[in-house]
């Protein structure tokens, strides 16, 4: 199957499988969580695969013990469980000791739309990005996902990669260099939308709508949430152009906060509107589109909100 036709997790584990075949130091620990692509990993590389059980805190400490003994370790579960459930283990065992362990979480934002706040990942990126030494990737397509498998293998230090459950159109060419941490995907003279993950794709639909109102918006894909490439972010935002951030995250701490911090630290005077989830948990059990409508994150609501704010 083409890379565009598979899930993000399969794109990641297919790439990791190729790496792990070449290097038996690479280990994958799962919190009893699967993926079609994991079957061949489990079968062909059984010595490098451990089902650590439904015990995420222990999965992190085991990973740390293995990394302290020369292994390059990946831990895998649903996004909130592989981050929030074991936050202190990640802080002390991975970040304090600067270990080569990558947490891979599936279910960015409202990927698990029918499972409620237990499975929604709206704080995970915010919480992970404040940890010193932690690199946080939030990919928007499968080219990027596959690249992150290689980058996380090559670069020592703790990382968190949050994957969506949905498939998205490819936005990048093969062999794209993702070391910049962000990319200007669409130019626009009137304003800039800074989005991440699935909301990058939502941003493209929003810009089409805005164009009908003669607003030409740029789109920036902020795919590395920590460390943030401040200089490039300021450069692509442009001077004195209104900026809108767009994410499913809680506004506090998420993409909106990241951009606000960069602007404040650099004396940037542009107007800023942060769109995302306001201070709440969502007890709606329906499609992701329904949740977006409820939260004002559907294309129509975002467009209307931006137009009103620009006036």
């Amino acid at each position: 199957m083409k890379i565009a036709d598979i899930s993000m997790r399969d794109a990641f584990f297919d790439a990791l499988y190729d790496i792990a075949r070449q290097d038996d130091r690479v280990m994958l620990l799962t919190g009893d969580f699967g993926a079609p692509s994991l079957d061949k990993f489990r079968t062909d590389l059984s010595r490098q695969y451990i089902n650590a059980g439904v015990a995420e805190q222990n999965m992190v400490t085991i990973a740390a013990g293995l990394a302290l003994s020369g292994k390059i370790v990946y831990i895998y579960s649903i996004a909130p469980f592989v981050t929030l459930r074991c936050f202190e283990q990640i802080k002390l065992d991975l970040c304090c000791m600067k270990l080569h362990v990558t947490a891979v979480g599936v279910g960015a934002g409202y990927s698990y739309s029918t499972s409620g706040p237990t499975h929604h990942a709206t704080e995970d990126a915010a919480v992970m990005r404040i940890l010193p030494g932690m690199t946080v990737y939030n990919p928007s397509d499968n080219i990027m996902v596959a690249a992150f498998a290689g980058m996380s293998y090559r670069d020592p230090g703790p990382k968190y990669i949050r994957l969506d459950r949905e498939k998205f159109p490819l936005r990048y060419e093969e062999k794209h260099d993702f070391s910049d941490g962000l990319a200007l995907l669409k130019r626009g003279k009137d304003m800039t939308i800074i989005a991440s993950g699935m909301m990058v794709h939502q941003a493209f639909k929003v810009t089409e709508e805005l164009l009908k109102h003669s607003i030409d918006a740029a789109i920036v894909d902020l795919y590395r949430l920590s460390p943030v490439n401040d200089n490039l972010l300021l450069q692509v935002m442009g001077k004195n152009k209104p900026v809108v951030t767009l994410a499913e995250d809680l506004v506090a701490g998420g993409i909106g906060s990241i951009v606000a911090e960069v602007m404040a630290d650099n004396g940037c005077q542009s107007r800023l509107k942060r769109l995302g989830t306001e201070n709440q948990y969502v007890f709606q059990y329906a499609s992701r589109e329904c949740l977006h409508s409820h939260l004002g994150l559907d294309v129509a609501s975002i467009t209307t909100g931006i137009l009103r704010w620009l006036q």
Binding site: R47, Q57, N58, T61, G65, A67, K71, E88, Q89, M97
Partner: protein, 287 residues
């Protein structure tokens, strides 16, 4: 082990207590009681021919991994200094500006392996190291010292389940079973008993020993490199918190209280008295 060798270890233990006391007096910090309950365990590991380490090369790949998981066990510092991992004078600046030795041993200190101190991490870290040794066919042993209060953390039992399942018989946990948490006796506020049975039910071999008896500790670890069992081993070392200082033993309040005022001289006197007793015993042995 001969009586003379045992006395030698007891003298070392007393030296460790005296050094630890002076560190705490200088820095005006507490946690002496917790440190004193594990002195004989640590002295056994480092002077009883148990751990293979190389102070000249702290990261020697074949070294045994020792993880101080229980946090406040600063009696490890005099031992590491005496072994040659860092100069003895570092003890004088314990918990003072620009020192390397904090209230909790962390992995920036030569001779230590991990950042520890938040309870419930060490057994998982040790299990990962023991698993890696098996995968890489390396011979080192991994030893983790836990507190009994620490065993109220759920993560300890996640790790215990993992180590039992993966038959990590190159892993040894020693629990400093002093029966005291910070404010009360463990059995009063969150019962651990039946303790050995809990470990056994997680597929561990469990042995209860007197954690202040060198013959007991050393016998329990005598063949730890060549055990026939496929299970990991836990030693439940029954100890007394504050061991060695009569006014401190089994008194919860001393967990975090600094030794000050009259207690400083009292503590010095008691440890000096112990020293004199051991010297007399040593003379007797020499006759």
């Amino acid at each position: 082990m001969s009586g003379q060798e045992i006395i030698k270890l007891e003298r070392k233990a007393n030296w460790v207590r005296r050094q630890t006391l002076e560190m705490c007096v200088r820095a005006n910090t507490g946690f002496l009681a917790s440190a004193f309950s594990s002195v004989e365990i640590l002295v056994s590991l480092y002077y009883g021919g148990i751990l293979r380490v190389d102070p000249e090369n702290p990261l020697w790949p074949e070294r045994d991994r020792f993880i101080m998981s229980k946090g406040h066990a600063i009696s490890l510092y005099p031992i590491l200094a005496d072994q040659g991992f860092f100069p003895l004078h570092n003890l004088e600046t314990f918990c003072q500006e620009n020192c390397i030795l904090g209230a909790i041993a962390e992995n920036n200190i030569p001779g230590t392996e991990v950042v520890a101190g938040s309870l419930g991490h060490g057994l998982g870290l040790g299990s990962g190291m023991a698993l890696a040794a098996k995968m890489n066919k390396e011979q080192y042993m991994t030893v983790v010292l836990l507190g009994d209060g620490e065993c109220q953390e759920g993560s300890v039992w996640e790790a215990a389940m993992f180590a039992g399942h993966h038959q990590l018989n190159n892993l040894v946990a020693i629990v400093d079973r002093n029966f005291l948490g910070v404010t009360d006796f463990t059995e009063n506020f969150l019962r651990l008993n039946p303790f050995a049975e809990k470990w056994q039910s997680f597929s561990w071999d469990a042995t209860v020993i007197d954690g202040h008896s060198f013959p007991d500790i050393l016998q329990a670890l005598a063949n730890f490199r060549s055990r026939k069992s496929e299970k990991p081993l836990v030693l439940i070392a029954q100890t007394t918190k504050g061991k060695g200082l009569s006014f401190m033993e089994n008194i919860p309040l001393w967990h975090a209280t600094s030794v000050s005022g009259k207690y400083i001289s009292l503590a010095r006197e008691e440890l000096q008295q112990k020293e004199n007793e051991l010297n007399r015993g040593s003379d007797h042995e020499n006759c």
